[in-house]
C-alpha cells in the first residue's frame, strides 16, 4: 500500500484543527488572511478525501493508521487508531463536501456579523471533529469527537445571540445533547468494563464471544440512543427545530447535513460492524421503528411551521428518518438505499438551507406568513429553491426520487420476504410522508417565492454571485446524482455497503490477518451483494424528448401571439401607474394584499387532523425539562426492550 496515502486521514483531520487555531491567531489582523486559512484547510481536507477515493472505494482497501505507531501487541490494541474503510470514506466525502460548500457560502453570508474570527474557529473545529468521528477507529475517540462537535455546534447555534430564541435554542441543544453524550459515554464505559478495549475492530471481534451478556446488550441500547440523539431522531426532534431556526444558514447546513450524518454513521457502524446484530428481528424493529416514527411525526410537524428554517429543520429529521428506516431493514438493498438517501439529504437539504439563508440575508425575515412574491426579485434563488424542493419531494429526475425509489423497494422486499406486516406498514408510511413533504414545500414555494409581493420587499435584490456559487454546486450535484444512479451505486454505494456487511475484513485490517477468524467471525463478507437494478434515467431521455416535442408544438401554436405577448409585457412595466380598475383580481375594486398565509394553506387537511395537531402542539411544549424527560424515557424504553427481549 502507498504509505504516503496512509497519512491522509490523520492529515485531513489535523489540517482542519490546525486551521482553526491559525485562524484565531491571524484572523484578527486581516479578514483576507482569515478567509484564506479557512479556504486552504477546507480545500486540503476535501482534496485528501478525494485522493483516498481510488484506493478505498474503487480498489476496496482499508487504510489503518496507528498514531505514534502504537500497533496492536499480541492481539490487544492499545494505541489510537484511524481506520478508513469504504463506509467511513463515504461519510468522509459527504462531510468534506458539505464543509467546503458551507465555508464558501459563509464568506459572503456572514458579512453582516462581527467577531467572525470566533465563527471560523468554531466552524473549523466542528468540521475537524466530524471528520475525526467518521474516520476514527476507536470508540473513545468517537466520544471525544462527539463532545467537540456538540459544543462547537451549540456555540455556533447561539452565534447570532441577538436573535430572539438563539440562546434558548442553544441551551436546549446543550442540555439534551449532553444527555445523548452521556448515554454514549455510559455505553462505552460498559463495553470497556467487559471487553477491556476501546478499539472498534477488537470490540467487534470480542462481542460474539460474550454470548448474551446483559451488560453488552445494555451498552448497545445506550450507544444506539447516543447516536440517535446526534441524529435528532424522535423524540429529540424539537431540539433540531429550535437550533436550526436561530442558527446561521451555513451552520444549519452543517447541523442537518453533517451532524445528523454522524448519528447515521454511528448507527450503521454500531449495528452492522460492531454488533452485527441487524439480522435479529428486534433490532430491525427498533431501528426501523425509530426511523419511521421520526419520518412521519416530523413531516406532520412541518405542516404547522411559520418559520422557513424551522420547517426545513423538521423536514431534515423526517428525511433522516427515511435513512434510518432503510438502514434498519437489514438488507443490502436497504443499506445502499439508506446511504444513497443520506448523501442526497446532505445535498438537497444543504441547498434548501442555503436558499433560506439567501432569503434571510436579503429580506431579513424567515416568516412564511409575511414573505411572498420573491420570485420577481430573486429569480435565481427561486430556481435553486425549486430544484431543492423537487429533490426533497422526490420528483423525478432529481436525486431524492432515485433514493426514495430504492427505499420503497427495500421496505416492500423485506416485507414480502418475511411476510411481516410491520415492514409493509413502514413502506406505506414512507410513501405518504413523501407526498406530505411535497405539500409543505408547495406551501413554502407559494408563500415565499410566488404569490403577491408585499410592499416592504419591493426593493429586495438578488443575492451576490459569491453566495450563488455554493448553491449551484449543490444544485448541480442534485441533478447529477439523480441522473446517474447506476454510477453512484457502482462507485459509491456498493463499496460502502459491502464494507458495512464485511465486519471480518474491518477487524483483520486493524488487528492483523486471521484475528477475526480466530474469534469466530465469518469472513468473506456477504456473497452476491448485488442489489437490484437501478432506476434507469434512459426513460428520462425519452421524457426530455417528449418535452421538446410539446414545447415545439406549443411554440408553433402560440407563434401568432408573439407580438401581442411582447406588447403585454411592455405594458406590464407601466402597469403600476394605471387605474386600479385594471387590477386583475378584484373586478375594479382597489387591490388589497390578499394572499392566503402560509400556515393556513392546507386547511382541508389540517381541519381533519386537528386533534392530532393540537396534541402534537402540546407535546412540543418548548420546555427543556420536558424534552429531557422524553429523552430519558426513550433511553429507558430502549434499554428495557433490549435487555428483556435480546
Amino acid at each position: 500500500m502507498n504509505t504516503f496515502l496512509n497519512n491522509f486521514p490523520i492529515l485531513a483531520i489535523m489540517i482542519l484543527f490546525v486551521g482553526a487555531f491559525v485562524t484565531s491567531l491571524v484572523g484578527r489582523r486581516s479578514a483576507l488572511a482569515r478567509n484564506g486559512v479557512v479556504l486552504v484547510s477546507m480545500t486540503a481536507a476535501l482534496a485528501m478525501m478525494l485522493a483516498l477515493v481510488k484506493p478505498v472505494l474503487l480498489d476496496g482497501q482499508i487504510i489503518t493508521y496507528w498514531l505514534g505507531n502504537w500497533e496492536p501487541v499480541e492481539g490487544w490494541a492499545f494505541g489510537i487508531c484511524l481506520e478508513v474503510d469504504a463506509l467511513s470514506l463515504f461519510f468522509g466525502l459527504i462531510v468534506t463536501v458539505a464543509v467546503f460548500v458551507s465555508g464558501v457560502y459563509s464568506f459572503t453570508y456572514m458579512n453582516h456579523d462581527d467577531s467572525l474570527v470566533n465563527y471560523y474557529t468554531l466552524f473549523l473545529m466542528l468540521s475537524g471533529s466530524v471528520l475525526g468521528l467518521v474516520l476514527s477507529g476507536d470508540l473513545f475517540n468517537i466520544f471525544v469527537m462527539v463532545e467537540i462537535m456538540t459544543f462547537t455546534a451549540v456555540a455556533l447555534t447561539a452565534f447570532r445571540n441577538t436573535y430572539e430564541g438563539a440562546l434558548e435554542g442553544a441551551l436546549k441543544y446543550l442540555v439534551v445533547g449532553s444527555l445523548g453524550s452521556t448515554s454514549l459515554l455510559v455505553g462505552i464505559a460498559m463495553l470497556y468494563s467487559q471487553l477491556h478495549t476501546l478499539n472498534l475492530a477488537q470490540i467487534s471481534a470480542l462481542i460474539p464471544g460474550q454470548g448474551a451478556n446483559p451488560v453488552i446488550i445494555a451498552a448497545f441500547a445506550f450507544l444506539f440512543m447516543g447516536f440517535a440523539t446526534k441524529a435528532f431522531l424522535f423524540p429529540f426532534q424539537p431540539l433540531a427545530a429550535d437550533a436550526h431556526a436561530v442558527a446561521p444558514a451555513s451552520i444549519s447546513l452543517m447541523i442537518s447535513g453533517v451532524l445528523t450524518k454522524c448519528g447515521v454513521y454511528g448507527i450503521i457502524r454500531l449495528c452492522y460492524v460492531l454488533y452485527e446484530n441487524l439480522n435479529q428481528p428486534l433490532v430491525q424493529y427498533l431501528v426501523t421503528g425509530f426511523g419511521a416514527v421520526s419520518m412521519f411525526i416530523c413531516v406532520t410537524m412541518a405542516f404547522n411551521q411559520h418559520n422557513f428554517k424551522r420547517l426545513l429543520a423538521f423536514h431534515s429529521i423526517s428525511q433522516v428518518g427515511y435513512v434510518i428506516t432503510a438502514v434498519g431493514l437489514g438488507s443490502a438493498l436497504g443499506v445502499s438505499a439508506g446511504l444513497y438517501h443520506a448523501m442526497n439529504h446532505t445535498i438537497f437539504k444543504g441547498l434548501l438551507f442555503l436558499t433560506a439563508g439567501a432569503v434571510q440575508h436579503q429580506t431579513g425575515s424567515l416568516d412564511l406568513d409575511s414573505l411572498g412574491g420573491l420570485s420577481k426579485r430573486m429569480p435565481r434563488t427561486t430556481l435553486l429553491f425549486l430544484i431543492g424542493a423537487a429533490s426533497i419531494s422526490g420528483l423525478p429526475p432529481f436525486n431524492g426520487f432515485a433514493s426514495k425509489w430504492m427505499i420503497y423497494q427495500a421496505a416492500f422486499q423485506r416485507g414480502a420476504a418475511t411476510g411481516n406486516f410491520f415492514f409493509l406498514f413502514v413502506c406505506i408510511v414512507a410513501l405518504i410522508t413523501s407526498v406530505l413533504t411535497l405539500a409543505s414545500f408547495i406551501k413554502v414555494a407559494q408563500s415565499v417565492f410566488f404569490g403577491q409581493l408585499p410592499e416592504q420587499y419591493k426593493e429586495v435584490k438578488e443575492v451576490p454571485l459569491a453566495m450563488r456559487i455554493p448553491m449551484w454546486i449543490l444544485a448541480v450535484l442534485c441533478i447529477v446524482t439523480g441522473l446517474f444512479p447506476t454510477q453512484v451505486q457502482n462507485y459509491l454505494l456498493l463499496p460502502a455497503t459491502s464494507a458495512a456487511f464485511n465486519a471480518a475484513n474491518y477487524i483483520d485490517q486493524a488487528m492483523g490477518l486471521g484475528y477475526a477468524a480466530a474469534h469466530g467471525i465469518a469472513t468473506g463478507g456477504v456473497a452476491g451483494l448485488m442489489v437490484s437494478d437501478c432506476w434507469n434515467p434512459t426513460s428520462w431521455l425519452m421524457l426530455l424528448f417528449c418535452i421538446t416535442c410539446a414545447v415545439a408544438i406549443v411554440a408553433l401554436l402560440a407563434s401568432p401571439n408573439d407580438l401581442k405577448d411582447a406588447h403585454i409585457s411592455s405594458c406590464d412595466e407601466q402597469a403600476e401607474v394605471l387605474d386600479a380598475k385594471y387590477e386583475s383580481f378584484f373586478s375594479g375594486e382597489e387591490s388589497v394584499y390578499s394572499q392566503v398565509g402560509g400556515s393556513d394553506l392546507f386547511w382541508g387537511f389540517k381541519h381533519n387532523w386537528r386533534k392530532y395537531f393540537s396534541y402534537m402542539h402540546d407535546w412540543h411544549s418548548g420546555i427543556v425539562n420536558d424534552y429531557t424527560l422524553y429523552g430519558v424515557v426513550a433511553i429507558a424504553f430502549v434499554l428495557l426492550a433490549c435487555i428483556i427481549l435480546l
Binding site: 423497494q409 410513501l431 405518504i432 406530505l436 408547495i442 404569490g451 437490484s532 401571439n561 387537511f605
Partner: protein, 322 residues
C-alpha cells in the same frame, strides 16, 4: 437507426403523443355527451373538446402582472410532457410497454404527482389569490387520493408474488401484465375486488372530475388553479386534463383488466379502448351527473376513511395469502 425510429414512433404516435391526445379527446367528448344525456340535454359534438382546444390556442395570452413568466409558461408544458411519458410505461392491450423500467409503478406514481405539481406551481406562479386557494385545494385532494392509490399499488404488487418468487422485480407493470396473461385478470381475484373499487374512486379525484374537482371549482373560486391562464397555456392545461382521463383509465385496465386477449393486436387495442370508455362512464360521467361537488375537507375524509379502508382491506387479504 431502427431503434431511433421505433422510439420516435412510440413517443410520437403509439402509445405516445398522438394516441394519447386522440383518446383523451374521445373520452372527454363522450363524457360530455353522456353527462348531457343524463341531464336531458343533447350535448356538444364529439369533437367539442378538440374545438375548444384549438380555439384556446388562437386566443391572446395574457400574463398577469404578479406572475413569474418563465414558470407560468413552463409549468403546463412540463406537466403535459410528463403525462405523455407515463403512457410509455403502460403495457397497453397486452403488448409490451414502449419503455420498461424496474419498479415502474413507483415511477408512474411520481410522474402523476409531477403532473399535479406542475398545475400547482403554474397556479402559484400566476400570483392570483384565487389560484392560491385552488392550489391549496389541489394539494389536499392529492394527499387524499395518494393514500388509497399507494395501498392499491402495494396490494397489486403483492398479489402477483408467488411464494419463492425472486423479489428483484417488484412494482413492475410488466410483471403484472405477464401474471395476468398467465392467470387471468386480477379483478377476478376476489381479494382484490375492494382494491379495484378503491382504484375506481381514485380515478375521478386524480383527474379532477366533477364531484371531486375541488381545485377547479368554477363557481366558487373562478377555476382556482387555472384562474389566470389564457390562450395556448390554458389550452395545454385543458389537453392535459383530457389525456389524464385516458391515462388513469388505462392504468386501471393494466392493473386489473390485463390478460384479456383475442389474439389479434388491433382487436386487442379496440377492446382496450372499449374498457377505457366503460370506465370513463362508470367513474367520471356517472358521478358527474349524479352528485354535487364535495367540500375539500369532505373529500379528504372520504378518501382516507372509506376508500383507503377498502384498499387496506384488500392489502391485508392479499398479504395473508388469499
Amino acid at each position: 437507426m431502427n431503434v431511433l425510429l421505433s422510439s420516435l414512433f412510440h413517443v410520437l404516435i403509439f402509445p405516445g403523443l398522438l394516441f394519447c391526445v386522440v383518446m383523451g379527446v374521445l373520452l372527454s367528448g363522450l363524457d360530455r355527451i353522456w353527462v348531457a344525456r343524463m341531464q336531458r340535454r343533447v350535448g356538444p359534438p364529439l369533437l367539442q373538446s378538440w374545438y375548444d382546444f384549438l380555439k384556446c390556442c388562437g386566443k391572446e395570452t395574457i400574463v398577469p402582472r404578479h406572475a413569474k413568466k418563465a414558470v407560468y409558461f413552463a409549468a403546463p408544458v412540463v406537466g403535459f410532457a410528463a403525462l405523455i411519458s407515463i403512457s410509455l410505461f403502460l403495457p397497453i392491450a397486452g403488448g409490451k410497454p414502449a419503455y420498461s423500467g424496474t419498479a415502474d409503478l413507483v415511477v408512474i406514481l411520481y410522474l402523476l404527482t409531477l403532473v399535479s405539481v406542475c398545475t400547482i406551481v403554474g397556479a402559484s406562479a400566476s400570483g392570483s389569490p384565487f389560484a392560491g386557494v385552488g392550489l391549496s385545494r389541489e394539494m389536499v385532494a392529492m394527499i387524499s387520493y395518494e393514500l388509497p392509490f399507494v395501498l392499491v399499488i402495494l396490494a397489486v404488487s403483492r398479489a402477483i408474488l408467488a411464494p419463492g418468487d425472486s423479489l428483484n422485480n417488484i412494482f413492475s407493470l410488466q410483471a403484472i401484465a405477464d401474471y395476468q396473461a398467465a392467470n387471468g385478470p386480477l379483478i377476478t381475484r376476489w381479494a382484490l375486488i375492494p382494491a379495484a373499487i378503491a382504484m375506481l374512486f381514485v380515478i375521478p379525484c386524480e383527474v379532477g372530475m366533477h364531484p371531486f374537482d375541488v381545485a377547479e371549482a368554477e363557481t366558487e373560486i373562478c377555476e382556482g388553479t387555472l384562474a389566470e391562464y389564457s390562450g395556448p397555456p390554458l389550452a395545454v392545461f385543458r389537453l392535459t386534463h383530457m389525456v389524464k382521463m385516458f391515462i388513469m383509465t388505462a392504468l386501471f385496465c393494466v392493473l386489473f383488466l390485463g390478460g384479456i386477449t383475442t389474439g389479434i393486436a388491433v382487436l386487442d387495442v379496440i377492446l382496450f379502448v372499449l374498457f377505457c370508455l366503460i370506465l370513463t362512464f362508470l367513474t367520471m360521467s356517472l358521478p358527474h351527473g349524479a352528485c354535487a361537488r364535495f367540500k375539500v375537507e369532505q373529500v379528504f375524509k372520504f378518501y382516507w376513511t372509506v376508500v383507503a379502508g377498502l384498499a387496506a382491506l384488500s392489502l391485508i387479504l392479499v398479504w395473508l395469502g388469499l
